[in-house]
């Protein structure tokens, strides 16, 4: 016997799934400025230490001061990829939309840091090695990481259905994350075979503690910056995704009012 009925109430599980972005949106809006200010403050402190406290390097002279952005950027670019893959995995397993949005919001910042690491590495290389680019294991895997970022961003942008874009992006992020260590070790292997260990970015162990302090503070600043920007981007993505819900309508109405007042 066929029965065709209209369900009276939504299941609680469904409600929960719809609700998560709604609660995160205002939270992200409240948190982001704090992270942004922390980033700005730490950058000022870090750069002060880097430029005015840390001594001149006895081998490289002043050029080494690029380290205060190069190393944090390189760390962030790798770490953000792993965080992206983590959110992708969470999204695939738990089926939560917010996780996919998080991983997509992180990608452009990760790519930016990746490019910064490459650029500063190359610029640093010219006075140190006499050439802008060597096919050093780190630089090369950094370059490939940039391509992985581009692939992820291009794929998630090219697919129009957001559900499919989320999941397809998650798979490529995970495949990439499995490959990042493989790429790194293979490039290192290849590098040692072809050039020997003559050219390496490995820094002297006797790094002055003020140098290290400046670098670490800059790394934390990069962290704060990445979080702030990702949160802001998440907000825009959430609005876009949830546009057919009631609460986005309310948010938009409030935005329209403030815009009107500003004019």
């Amino acid at each position: 016997m066929t029965t065709l009925t209209r369900a009276p109430v939504r299941s609680p599980e469904g409600l929960l799934r719809f609700a998560a972005p709604q609660q995160f949106y205002p939270l992200a809006g409240r948190l982001a400025p704090w992270f942004a200010w922390a980033a700005a403050l730490l950058t000022v402190v870090g750069l002060y230490i880097g430029f005015f406290v840390a001594p001149t390097d006895f081998q490289q002279g002043e050029v080494y001061r690029v380290i205060f952005i190069h190393v944090p950027a390189a760390w962030m670019s790798m770490f953000i990829y792993l965080v992206m893959a983590f959110w992708a995995a969470v999204g695939l397993v738990m089926n939560t939309r917010l996780s996919f949005i998080m991983s997509q919001a992180l990608a452009p910042t990760g790519a930016m840091f990746c490019f910064v690491a490459l650029w500063t590495g190359a610029v640093w290389g010219k006075p140190t090695w006499g050439t802008y680019w060597v096919w050093d294991a780190r630089l090369t895997s950094q370059l490939l990481l940039l391509f992985l970022y581009f692939g992820f961003i291009a794929l998630t942008r090219a697919i129009e259905d957001p559900r499919r874009a989320d999941r397809a992006g998650a798979i490529i992020a995970l495949v990439g994350a499995v490959n990042v260590p493989i790429i790194y070790f293979s490039v290192q292997w290849w590098n040692t075979l072809h050039q020997g260990a003559s050219v390496s970015l490995t820094r002297a162990p006797s790094m002055a503690s003020t140098m290290l302090a400046g670098m670490l503070i800059m790394a934390i600043a990069a962290w704060m910056y990445a979080i702030a920007v990702a949160l802001w981007r998440v907000r825009a993505l959430i609005l876009e995704r949830e546009r057919h819900t009631e609460w986005v309508g309310e948010v938009l109405a409030a935005e329209a009012q403030t815009q009107g007042r500003a004019r």
């Binding site: 209209r6 690029v66 952005i69 910064v116 650029w119 500063t120 640093w124 910056y225 920007v229 825009a236």
Partner: protein, 70 residues
């Protein structure tokens, strides 16, 4: 203090183009990213507001029906 004068600071012991080139590009990229993020948010809000207004009457109607369902 590491520097004898401000001009010594800007010259960076002869490595000025490399050091300031790195910092300049990084700063430019960060500013560009921030601008893009802020503009993206504005664009999204404006586009969605336009979208709501365009659908205005329809949305209102179906909204009412959805509420009557629940």
């Amino acid at each position: 203090m590491q520097w004898e004068s401000w001009s010594a600071f800007w010259q960076m012991g002869g490595a000025a183009p490399y050091v300031w080139g790195s910092y300049g590009v990084t700063l430019a990229l960060i500013v560009a990213e921030l601008v893009l993020v802020i503009r993206r948010r504005k664009d999204t809000v404006n586009r969605l507001l336009r979208w709501r207004r365009a659908l205005g009457k329809d949305v209102g109607g179906s909204q009412a029906r959805m509420e009557s369902v629940e």
